[in-house]
Symmetry: C3
Subunit: 467 residues, 3 copies
């Protein structure tokens, strides 16, 4: 399947084979940057930034210009168009009629998908709230692969704010897909969110162990560690002798340490502020003097503040400025491919990752709404045309995942459209986790936001409703 005219909203929009092909092209771009100056001649890229970002935007714009294309830029679009009450779908349609491709950043989670749905031209997500930032992930993967030739089987430690960092969530899924072992070293109160962990376990087939579970002794450890995710292909010794093996695994050395910044600007709720000081150890020469870190690639998506000292800048292990620089060839390759200036086709049969799980979709018009206040589907200007839509990712504990922002919710009551058709007296609702409810076929499933909604719609409790 060709990549031309497709959009990149989440890292999962690309299969492993496609990512590999993209990286080969990026190598070509990096090796002879001056030969690319005619590839995208006559093409226009629109930078639509509803939230400021100097680094990411300039990286994309540089990439487009180096390909011979041109750029139109709107920074802080929000102030203009939102003040007028315009929807992002309208903005997407209009700008899509000007430009050949749109790069969009937006503070709302899921906004990039909406732009992609309406623009009529390829759209690249340059960050949508705390949701995804797939080109950052591509740069991260490219850096590791460039320096270590592979990602499979490497031990990658993620350090710091694993709760708010959008770059880090996209990265985790991608690392899992490529078969890396992931070490979670989060600061206190900055743990990886539950839904990310759960998804790792269910969709990427590896094995996730929390250190508490493993009796891993942090105080004796080489460095603070919360949990470890083992690639499916690694020897599953942990299951047998877990705590010993973690130590063994770690003594083999960390291949990359991915440091993140404490994302103060994403800690909006006052509840969070009330909590105790969030922090994690500074990454400096002292921390990295141990044998496990001897050959570690020190990575950071930048900007950094105090979590990674300037003294590391000259250290040969430090990769973060290279990582930023690689952003240009990676984005050049991506733009060239999506604009159809370079053809990359991947043999589907040999491709190691294609979205394997095809969850059923729930889009019945009901009271069920995404529980994420920052989701695009909950915004005043967007509810005029967006209908909530979810993937049903589990029936055991009924779990809906918002197709826009990937947040999950767990409704308690359901009914079946089949069993009561036309007959009021048959309208019954059931507890979602009852054996009976779990048998309702997805296409017949009616999901209620609350028991009140069910009753307002004149459904009566069945015997499968727990009291």
């Amino acid at each position: 399947m060709s990549l031309a005219n497709r959009s990149l909203v989440t890292i999962d929009d690309l299969s492993n084979g496609e990512i590999e092909a993209l990286f080969s092209l990026a190598d070509e771009m990096a090796d002879s940057p001056n030969k690319q100056a005619v590839l995208c001649q006559g093409k226009i890229m629109a930078s639509l930034f509803f939230e400021p970002s100097t680094r990411t935007r300039l990286s994309f714009e540089t990439a487009m210009l180096r390909l011979g294309g041109q750029v139109i830029t709107a920074v802080d679009v929000g102030a203009t168009s939102l003040a007028k009450g315009e929807s992002i779908a309208d903005m997407a349609k209009v700008v899509g009629s000007y430009a050949d491709l749109i790069v969009v950043r937006h503070p709302w989670e899921g906004a990039a998908r909406v732009v992609a749905d309406y623009a009529g031209v390829p759209v690249i997500n340059a960050g949508d709230g705390s949701h995804e930032h797939p080109t950052q992930t591509l740069c991260d993967l490219y850096t590791i692969r460039k320096e270590r030739q592979t990602i499979k089987g490497l031990r990658i430690a993620l350090w710091g704010d694993l709760k708010h960092g959008r770059t880090v969530h996209s990265l985790i899924y991608a690392l899992a897909r490529f078969g890396a072992t992931i070490l979670f070293c989060s600061g206190s109160g900055l743990d990886m969110p539950e839904h990310v962990l759960r998804r790792l376990g269910t969709e990427y087939k590896g094995e996730l162990k929390s250190c508490k579970e493993l009796n891993y002794e942090t105080e004796k450890s080489l460095f603070p560690l919360d949990a470890i995710y083992l690639t499916p292909s690694s020897p599953h010794q942990l299951a047998m002798l877990p705590d010993i093996n973690v130590q063994v695994e770690l003594k083999a050395g960390v291949d990359a340490l991915y440091v993140t910044r404490l994302q103060k600007e994403r800690q909006t709720s006052t509840v969070e502020e009330g909590k105790s000081e969030k922090s994690y150890p500074v990454v400096d020469k002292k921390l990295l003097k141990g044998k496990v870190f001897e050959k570690t690639l020190v990575m950071h998506p930048l900007p950094r503040v105090d979590e990674l000292t300037h003294e590391m800048d000259a250290d040969p292990r430090s990769m973060y400025f290279k990582q930023a620089a690689y952003g240009v060839p990676v984005r050049m390759a991506l733009l060239a491919i999506l604009l159809g200036a370079k053809e990359v086709t991947v043999d589907r049969d040999k491709d190691s990752f294609i979205r394997e799980i095809d969850y059923p979709v729930y889009k019945r018009d009901s009271g069920v709404k995404c529980s994420n206040r920052n989701c695009v589907s909950n915004q005043e200007t967007e509810v005029r045309y967006i209908k909530p839509e979810f993937r049903i990712v589990s029936r055991q504990l009924l779990t809906l995942r918002c197709i826009y922002c990937d947040h999950e919710l767990y409704p308690h009551y359901v009914a079946s459209s089949e069993w009561h058709e036309g007959r009021l007296e048959n309208k019954r609702y059931h507890s979602a986790d009852s054996r009976f409810a779990r048998k309702i076929r997805p296409e017949n499933l009616i999901i209620f936001a609350s028991e009140n909604e069910a009753q307002a719609k004149r459904f009566k409790p069945s015997s499968y409703v727990k009291q």
Copy 2:
């Protein structure tokens, strides 16, 4: 007359023939956009936006880039240069020494004319306050002509906020020039301003009838209607059997419905806010299900908010996204012409509209000032060099129209410079509407802002001053 090196400040800067020629070129641009990539090579367009506007700016920049030209952009210039107290004339001169053409948007009415006067290069008005936005008008006309092959004789309904919309005022004059019949359907408290209506009657030779005058029964009508403007060439039956004919005229169907947004950001005065809620019916499938709307082009300058529902987007009658898309070829044609990259000459003899009325100009240094607080001629930084200047558009009720913002004022007292030369005892002032005063030749006319001014300048009341 060639169009190269001219400016476009108001839609009246172009004759009908010139607009037709521009549209033919726009067709060419739309048909083969990729053949235009060398037309403006080596030329630089400056986007000078003293007020933010994503849509209009990106449309111009796309157009210039598609012509092979380059762009320099300054958004929100106001914050920078105004903070330093600089005049827009100085900014115009400096930027005019960098770029080959300037596109300017400014919140002050009349600002684009000042920029055009001082820049030394062609200037395009991309919106000056509530005054004009001529390229929007060109896109609107182009859309109608593209879809209906002509504008002459069509019935165009204007819907919503006819008071504040700058796009709508420019459009009205242009429609009148091209011989359309215009139906005014304004929301309550959002009527077309008096001066626009008056001008329609005096300068465009058609016939304007308010529905009140016509005993048009709104409650029985197909849709709310305030007034109708009939093109000079349409059969003048209305004068004889007015109310019946409006119904007849309307039953023939509306060719285009031009919906506007409630321009909240232009309602600055507190008096206005105090007034009752402004509103007008939402344009949706239900409203448009009648026979009169069967083939109606649904237009909107965008951004829209709630006045036009998203359900209309997929309707084949909806033209608003096409309208936005046409902005690029229309602006490409305009830029190519003004930069001299394409020659368009129109035979003056055959041209159906050239500014016909040559009003005398009043620019004597006196106390008469434009009454529009938002006019460029009343701004602190600009009064250093701008002298008020007016067209004398009527002597019956003495009416001065500001050459910058087109607002009108009605001074009450005048004198003649001829009749008192050198002799103090002859200095007399007269009521402007007296028979005597109306005979004073324009070049001799002295106009006073007030009776006080006349007396302060030692004029005495003549017998032609009403007590």
Copy 3:
């Protein structure tokens, strides 16, 4: 020495010969601007503006585009990256990995040097606080030279706010280097700062006379005058018959009058605001009607406010709009040279100015800090990696000049690292101006911020410490 790949942080980064060569190239650019459109093809310039500036930025961008290069722009970067606590060194490194050259404006004094130190590509200072703005100086010099063929021996009057204007400080040193006579005509309370005057005297070898010293009678004078700086090559008659000669000198006429704007935005301290109204005479036709101004070039860096009337705009002596227009060819020449697209080599032997004085540098890690609160070396985000560094420009009264912002400070206590090595009882500190202290070799010098610091470091006062 080639200029390719060098940075322009201060006007002193260029020798007189290099400036002359640059001007010859600028002449070429101005004469055939359309022949330059391939010179910088494939090159990208980054405009990094941490402080808004429409004029300067657009001038640079126009220059780059006219050379066939491309531009990436970030305006008001401060709001984005500083909010995240990022250092300018990090920003410089990242953007330097995208672009081929960086143009930077920043409100902190010395910021451009830091960017140049870290970017890895040539950097042009487009203004760093009140420190320097070297390309403005180049445009000023180019205008004078273009109109008068030379700068040497001309009489240039500087008018207005000589205290805050960054353009004017850079200009003064440059004029001195090229051998002009400088007349200081500052407004009340807006005198040239002491350190600028001192530097003129010590480093540029001319003679500086204040008018008070000369008994120059302002009230009888042709125009207000504070001081005069005489080029080394002019006949030194002033020393003998000072006041007569100033009059004689002035009667010969002023070659250029450089008017400046009152820089309100740089008057931050509340103390200053408390002072009496700052002002200076308006430059208008009346002021310039005298014989001394008959052939005076009237210059202004723009923007102007009220200090130079609009009536002067049409006067043939007025150069300020030409000055702005010359910005493009001058910047084209500079960009072409630094990017290596044009080779300019200057014979060092024949070059009339190369930094002659090589002051010893003090960079010992001690408590001595730049006293300028707005210096880059004092900013929270930058102290993580910047160590204060100073040139020792005088031992008489110990004077340190900050290598970042050029502010001077005068520490009172010093010690020698040689004389106490290893032995605590020998650790003595001395008054910096004592005969003994002045003998300490620069490489052994330890400088204390205060007597307290010396004592905290367990030094005891020597007999060379004044009580």
